[in-house]
Amino acid sequence: MVENQTKIGWSKAEMAQKVALDIPDGSYVNLGIGMPEMVADFVPEGRELIYQTENGLLGMGPVPEAGKEDLELVNAGKKPVTTIPGASFFHHADSFTMIRGGHIDVCVLGAMQVSADGDLANWSTGAANAIPAVGGAMDLVAGVKRIFVITQHNTKDGKAKLVKQCSFPLTGKGVVETIYSNLAIIDVKEEGLFVREMGPNVDFEYLKERTEAEIFR
């Protein structure tokens, strides 16, 4: 990988920080499993975000100290979490009332592919022997006000993830607002994908080569 030679683009932590900076104070936020979870570590001082986890908790706090885990107090990734003062528990139908009903401000998700139209594929490769598993992703993209995607710009074997059309089965159509990759921050607009900011040592040509979808600046 190029990243090992000179530093090109952002680290995962820097990507998470970029996302965190774009979430307004007081927002209700749902973070997907994996890289999206890192966003919580980079919320700027003075901002208060409230985290919802679709398995039934609003006001999720950080990971508990070792030995203080409660196996029945977990996040959507089934990992132990804590609660903040002012948290609440609720059942799944109420949880998805929050999600489907448009009450959550921002959801940060991973992606397998994002298209030029903001279509998102992040649940299945569609391969014949893969066990399909969808979880709450389709409800989240259908209901949350703003969908941010955090993802490596390319797959491990160098394929484009920002594509003209998703070849993988969709999670939702035209749902992504902004893509935070290791190479750039890209806004999905009516007219196409617009590069807002590029990472260290990334230029537009470099980015274009690694992006199947047309990008603008």
Binding site: I50, L58, G59, G86, S88, F90, T97, M98, G101, G143
Partner: protein
């Protein structure tokens, strides 16, 4: 710091606009946010559509709002109660519209509005005048009508305890429409009998999670509608 507490009922209702759709909690006087309604009367917004189970009693609260001709249309299940005279008079005079909805259908339409469900089927009202003009459909041999969800611009809700995040608890049968009305409004405006520190309400017993609440005013000693009606008081006094 998130803090949804405001200082007065007047401040709580200040942005309600003419023509707004407003849900008002309460089953009779139980859960009816009289102080918020009175602040709304003072504020002056008109041409309102009100979603509430009843139409108020005497000349206070919702009845007073109606009496002051602020309400264009009522969506409710039971518009006449023991001491309601204001609505019946205006209705018979053709000065206010009524959309009559079975109580459970009303609750489910509100709940759906909050839950992002635009429409659902229910068996209630099939073969009655209240199903006229509505689509119906048979599932597994039983007939149902299609009902649309209701969303509001604002909800006015009375609760028991609240914290700065908007977490709420209720008291007894004053809970009634409050929790679902909070979910179905762009802005849910709350009058709480007591504001407590964040964390004082056990996460297991929160009834309305704060995400559904826009702002809260503490009203420590709310008036009782039935007392005001018994005294034949009129708002504004």
């Amino acid at each position: 710091m998130i803090n949804k507490i405001v200082k007065s009922a007047a401040e709580a209702v200040k942005d309600i606009h003419d023509g707004a759709i407003i849900m008002i909690s309460g089953f009779g006087e139980a859960g009816s946010p009289l102080e918020l309604i009175h602040a709304l009367i003072d504020q002056g917004a008109k041409d309102l559509t009100i979603v509430s189970n009843n139409t108020g009693s005497g000349n206070v609260g919702l009845a007073a709002l109606i009496e002051h001709k602020r309400v264009k249309k009522m969506i409710c299940s039971f518009p006449r109660t023991a001491n309601s005279t204001v609505f019946p008079e205006l209705y018979n005079a053709g000065e206010i519209e009524l959309e009559l909805v079975p109580q459970g259908t009303l609750a489910e339409r509100i709940r759906s509005g909050g839950a992002g469900v635009p429409a659902f089927y229910t068996p209630a009202s099939v073969n009655t005048p209240l199903a006229e003009g509505k689509e119906s459909r048979i599932f597994d041999g039983i007939e149902y009508v299609l009902e649309r969800s209701i969303k509001a611009d604002f909800s006015l809700v009375k609760c028991e305890q609240a914290d700065r995040y908007g977490n709420l608890t209720y008291h007894a049968t004053a809970r009634n429409f409050g929790p679902i009305m909070c979910t179905a409004a762009k802005k849910a405006i709350i009058q709480a009998k007591k504001v407590v520190e964040a964390g004082r309400i056990d996460p297991e017993v929160v009834v309305t999670p704060g995400i559904f609440v826009e702002r809260i005013v503490e009203v420590t000693n709310p008036v009782n509608e039935s007392d005001l009606v018994a005294q034949k008081l009129k708002y504004p006094w």
